[in-house]
């Protein structure tokens, strides 16, 4: 693919994803919703992702604490360890790492599932049976991603902070009460709110891109692989871009 057709393809893809997102919002604000399927998807996307998110968050909190200690020790600032980890986890690492894990787990599974449904004509079968496949398959999955990602981030933050408490106590002694007090002393409303709001957008991006790639999949079984793979790559990239924008907006609004 030469440069010119590469740019053309990129612009077309951006346009198509924008149109897909617009179609989602039109259907999202429609009174007719597939509530049963939304709840089922919340269970699959939220509850079934908990173990992976939990383990990753635990390791993240522990490693961050253990790795940061030597540097803080050099400056005699080990007592700031809980506050530093709390700020890092809640403001940035928790939301972004959870979103990236979800992009890998949820994005690929949605891309592969819808892609496989497309190439085996299941989406066409749904359409000819008089059921709107966009509402049944896409709106439910994207909605579940939007609702569940913030929940997963809160759980991941909590587990990460607990792992950090264990990490602090590996080479020192700090009671839970003091740790807890130091963590919440260092956090303010302006740390939590922007970080929490952006997780809804991360959920939207992961859901939309996974569904878009799967729903528009073609080229048979090869297309299913391409859909799953590009759902992960593109949604991970979009998570970083959204994070960058969110940080700038929070900075402009004085949430720093």
């Amino acid at each position: 693919m030469d440069n010119q057709s590469g740019y053309k393809h990129f612009i077309e893809e951006v346009g198509n994803i924008s149109a897909f997102t617009w179609k989602f919002f039109k259907a999202f604000f429609n009174r007719k919703q597939e509530w049963k399927e939304i709840i089922r998807q919340c269970y699959i996307i939220g509850y079934q992702s908990m173990p992976l998110v939990g383990i990753t968050a635990f390791i993240m909190g522990l490693v961050l604490t253990v790795q940061s200690r030597p540097t803080l020790e050099e400056f005699g600032a080990v007592s700031y360890l809980p506050a530093m980890v709390a700020l890092s986890v809640v403001r940035e690492i928790g939301p972004v790492v959870t979103a990236l894990i979800c992009a890998g787990k949820i994005g690929s599974s949605i891309g592969a599932e819808l892609g496989s449904m497309r190439v085996t004509e299941q989406i066409d079968a749904m359409e000819v049976s008089g059921t709107n496949p966009f509402r049944y398959l896409v709106v439910t999955r994207v909605t579940a991603c939007i609702f569940m990602l913030p929940v997963l981030v809160v759980v991941a933050d909590g587990i990460s902070l607990y792992a950090s408490y264990l990490g602090v106590n590996l080479k020192g002694v700090l009671t839970w009460n003091l740790y807890y007090h130091q963590v919440f002393e260092s956090l303010s409303f302006s740390d939590i709110l922007p970080a929490y709001i952006k997780t809804y957008f991360f959920g939207l991006a992961i859901g939309i891109i996974g569904c878009y790639k799967g729903y528009n999949s073609n080229k048979g079984t090869e297309g299913v692989g391409i859909a799953a793979n590009s759902a992960v790559v593109v949604s991970s990239l979009v998570v970083f871009i959204m994070d960058l924008i969110a940080v700038q907006i929070a900075d402009m609004l004085g949430y720093t």
């Binding site: 085996t120 004509e121 066409d124 079968a125 359409e127 000819v128 049976s129 008089g130």
Partner: protein, 246 residues
């Protein structure tokens, strides 16, 4: 007396880029008949029936189903029309994350939400009995053979008692015995449900068994039309290859 036409295509044109698939195709499906459309692979047979249910839209010409122009229908009108049409896909298109029971319940619960679970169960078992597969009710699609998948696909399509059936290569990939069973099932459906059907196939045994009328599609146009025997006896060199294996 002329039979009532339930599907009419008039000068139907459909292209994909430079590939001109249908170039002014005309046909009528009469009420209660089985119409077989024969043609080579890639000749536009599947495109034709996809235009009838609004999965594809023609570039030119018209497709009327029950007197309604498909391209002019609103989304809700099209959904309404689709409940009167059954479509059996070549791959059967069973929802592979659902059991056979859930596959059959899916259209029922969406279009007849007032039915209680007992009534739904009865209709599911009745549909499975019609295709001789009651024992498969709790299996997953991945546990079914090709022939069983076709039958379950048929049962799911028939559960809403459609007036028109569109079969996209119903016997492709099946062994001769199972193919014959599916062909006989198509005949049973015609007589039990009084459906009007279009059967897209290259299986000449299937065509001979089920067809009341046959249309031969060549180069995107209706090349010939008649009963199976009339076309088989024709001396036309374009038609001979279709019947050569018989």
């Amino acid at each position: 007396m002329k039979e009532e036409a339930v599907v009419v295509t008039n000068n139907l044109v459909k292209s994909f880029g430079n590939n001109h698939v249908l170039k002014g195709f005309n046909m009528e499906l009469h009420k209660g008949e089985n119409l077989v459309v024969l043609g080579k692979s890639g000749s536009g047979k599947s495109v034709l029936i996809k235009c009838m249910v609004g999965l594809l839209y023609p570039d030119n010409g018209s497709v009327k189903v029950f007197g309604q122009e498909v391209a002019d229908l609103t989304v809700s009108e099209l959904d309404e029309l689709r409940t009167r049409i059954g479509f059996l896909f070549q791959s059967s298109a069973l929802y592979d994350s659902m059991t056979v029971r859930e596959n059959l319940e899916f259209p029922l619960k969406r279009h007849l939400p007032k039915l209680n679970q007992k009534e739904v169960d009865d209709l599911v078992m009745e549909a499975l009995a019609n295709v001789g597969l009651e024992r498969a009710v709790d299996l997953m699609p991945s546990e079914l053979s090709g022939g069983m998948r076709k039958r379950i696909g048929l049962a799911r399509t028939l559960i809403l008692k459609p007036e028109i059936m569109l079969y996209d290569e119903p016997t492709t990939g099946l062994d001769p015995v199972t193919s014959r069973e599916i062909s006989n099932l198509i005949l049973e459906i015609q007589s039990n449900y009084k459906t009007s059907s279009i059967i897209i196939t290259h299986d000449m045994d299937c065509a001979r068994t089920v067809a009341n009328r046959v249309i031969i599609l060549i180069d995107g146009e209706r090349y010939a039309m008649g009963t199976f025997d009339e076309l088989m006896k024709s001396d036309d060199p374009q038609l001979k290859p279709f019947f050569a294996a018989l």
